[in-house]
């Protein structure tokens, strides 16, 4: 509307059109200039390493003969490696439990805050958000102390309730313990995002539902939940990407309970141990590429699922 539109009759239009497009072209070059500093960094520290990883994954270094091109042999080795896939299965189980539980808790509190049915909502929102400010390394350290089998306070707590000699960091309980830590770390953050999404549900829709004598649970499930579904889908997506890359918590907890966390406990842990500790960079690079493809596959599935539900059309 405020563009320099020619108001002269049709005769002038033919002349003004090329001028206009030249102006637009110059303007768009400015757009590229704004984006370019980021693009340079993005290219150097994202695309180049990624390309290098893919390139590297096609070679094998041997003790005799140095590094030689080996085609897809690293990939066949990984695809048939139980060591790699057992880690993938573990993080998938981790995500399949942790994400729904966390989102249910987060949605519960977000709804309570949004409806204003819990007192001191503002104070609680602030408290719940605190773990987001705690580095993952430090939260793993703190929870390690709490869970530690010989002096950790939670062991004493469990024995008060009649469960003696519970080892929260044993083989069987390690995964549930890490799930607890992850729920502690991320529930508040997810809850704040859902709360914001819920706040944006138009008030008159809710008021109309109330006037129709719709019961509260129905307002939540039938009115609010569908309107914040995009937010929930996005959170599932982001949390899944994070869950599949589980790394810091097991690495740190290993210091409290040696032997439970194996070298291949999670895929990223396995990549780390293969490349850094064993110096098999090529194999590690191939694993990183495979893990990336697994993440892409899961994300595309969720995207298709979202499409089929008729969202983002």
């Amino acid at each position: 509307m405020s563009a320099p539109a020619p108001t002269r009759p049709a005769r002038d239009e033919s002349r003004s059109r090329p001028r206009h497009s030249a102006w637009v072209r110059r303007r768009d070059r400015a757009g590229l200039a704004f984006v370019s500093p980021f693009l340079v960094a993005f290219g150097l520290f994202m695309i180049v390493p990624l390309g290098y990883a893919i390139y590297d994954s096609l070679f094998t270094s041997r003790i005799i003969g140095g590094t030689v091109f080996s085609g897809l042999s690293n990939y066949t080795q990984i695809l048939t490696s139980g060591m790699f896939w057992s880690g993938v299965i573990r993080v998938v189980i981790f995500g399949a439990i942790q994400i729904p539980v966390m989102l249910a808790i987060a949605f519960f509190f977000a709804t309570a805050f949004d409806l204003g049915v819990a007192k001191f909502g503002k104070a609680f929102r602030t408290i719940f958000f605190i773990p987001f400010a705690v580095p993952v390394v430090v939260s793993a350290l703190m929870w390690g102390f709490l869970f530690e089998p010989s002096y950790g306070p939670f062991v004493h707590l469990a024995s008060v309730f009649g469960f003696h000699n519970v080892d929260f960091l044993s083989n069987t309980l390690m995964l549930p313990s890490i799930i607890t830590i992850a729920i502690w770390e991320w529930t508040g953050y997810n809850s704040i995002i859902l709360y914001t999404a819920l706040k944006s549900v138009p008030r008159d829709i809710v008021e109309a539902a109330i006037l129709d004598d719709t019961p509260l649970w129905k307002i939540i499930v039938k009115v609010k939940l569908p309107l914040v579904r995009p937010a929930i889908v996005l959170l599932i997506f982001l949390n899944t990407i994070g869950a599949l890359q589980l790394f810091v918590e097991p690495l740190i907890l290993n210091n409290y309970s040696a032997g439970v966390i194996t070298l291949n406990w999670t895929p990223v842990l396995y990549i780390y141990n293969t490349s850094i500790n064993d110096a098999q960079y090529n194999l590690g690079a191939a694993m990183a590429v495979v893990l990336g493809l697994v993440i892409v596959a899961i994300s595309i599935t969720s995207l298709l699922f979202r499409r089929s539900k008729g969202e983002f059309s």
Partner: protein, 325 residues
């Protein structure tokens, strides 16, 4: 839906003569207005009590580790193991433990150096990432150049790339480019924040009107001048959120520094603390645990304070409120 999701937290803050107390009061009133009175839902008073109790329980769950770390930062190693975890014990060693943070322990390194390193990496990386995100977000939001859409989707798609796939090759490239044990090896990759670009683009679309930019163009202002004089002032709340997120991102980063630093004096807190916890069990040094606890407390305190001060930026829900489009 979209617009109200992403209302700049202080859109009304532009009113110049409003004091902090007035603003807080106004926000409180607005919040109260926005909530439909509980009675209208036909809830019993008991429900409010039950829900508040749930909140209290989850708040306790949230605060348990924080409380533990505060109590135990005052203890000797023997007392950390031997006394009740959720109360103080004699002797009161808080100041002694705190002093130890300034000493080089076991040749692992000095905590306070790691703290300085973390602050340096977080500030340079965070500010840089925010600046690049702001420029790029503006470029994507207000211009349409050839390939802009594809570029944008590639940037968003990079969120799917696992950290290992980027960090390991970076290490290999660094070892050739002499960036191992260089602070730039840590800071430069931190400048790439795809989420920041996404958030800034969304924020700019909603808070920097196209008409305003066009009007400035007609007045003959250069594009760079328009960015700094017209757009930037309107972007401040979005910038603050992206800054907060990127500082936290660098502050928390573990994988990259773990791999690229072998010189203990360059470690950030996360790697240093990880090393301590490894040595506390393997080397049997009897005095590392109080240090880890105290170090943990000193690590989280600045960030929690930062979040309390900058509350309205994350509370405004800029975070991913943009999901609606």
């Amino acid at each position: 839906m979209t617009a109200s999701t992403l209302v700049p937290p202080d859109a009304a803050g532009a009113r110049p003569a409003e004091s902090r107390r007035q603003r807080r009061k106004r926000e409180e009133l607005e919040e109260r207005d926005a909530v439909i009175p509980v009675e209208l839902y036909g809830l019993k008073r008991g429900t409010v009590t039950v829900l508040t109790t749930c909140c209290v329980l989850f708040a306790i769950f949230t605060l348990v580790p924080i409380a533990w770390i505060i109590f135990n930062s005052t203890k000797t190693q023997a007392n950390i193991f031997g006394t009740f975890g959720f109360w103080f014990a004699r002797p009161f060693e808080f100041f002694h433990n705190f002093r130890m943070l300034f000493e080089n322990v076991d040749d692992d390194g000095t905590y306070i150096d790691w703290f300085g390193n973390t602050a340096l990496y977080a500030v340079l990386g965070g500010v840089g990432a925010t600046a690049l995100s702001a420029f790029a977000g503006y470029g994507f939001a207000r211009f349409e150049f050839r390939g802009s859409k594809v570029l944008f989707y590639i940037i968003i798609g990079s969120l799917l790339v696992p950290i290992g796939a980027i960090t390991l090759p970076l290490y290999l490239v660094y070892s050739k480019a002499h960036l191992i044990n260089s602070i730039w090896g840590m800071i430069l990759p931190s400048l790439v924040a795809p989420v920041g670009v996404y958030l800034m683009r969304t924020y700019i679309r909603l808070s920097v009107p196209r008409e305003l930019v066009d009007a400035a163009r007609i007045d003959g202002a250069s594009e760079i001048r328009i960015f700094f004089r017209v757009a930037l002032p309107l972007m401040v709340p979005g910038l603050m959120t992206v800054l907060l997120l990127s500082v936290v991102g660098v502050w928390n980063n573990y994988f990259l520094p773990l791999i690229i630093f072998s010189n203990n004096n360059l470690f950030p807190l996360t790697v240093g603390m990880g090393l301590w916890s490894q040595h506390a069990t393997t080397s049997g040094d009897q005095n590392l645990y109080p240090l880890i606890v105290m170090g943990g407390l000193v690590t989280i305190a600045p960030l929690i304070i930062l979040f309390l001060i900058l509350q309205r930026y994350w509370r405004g829900g800029l975070l991913l409120g943009s999901i609606a489009n």
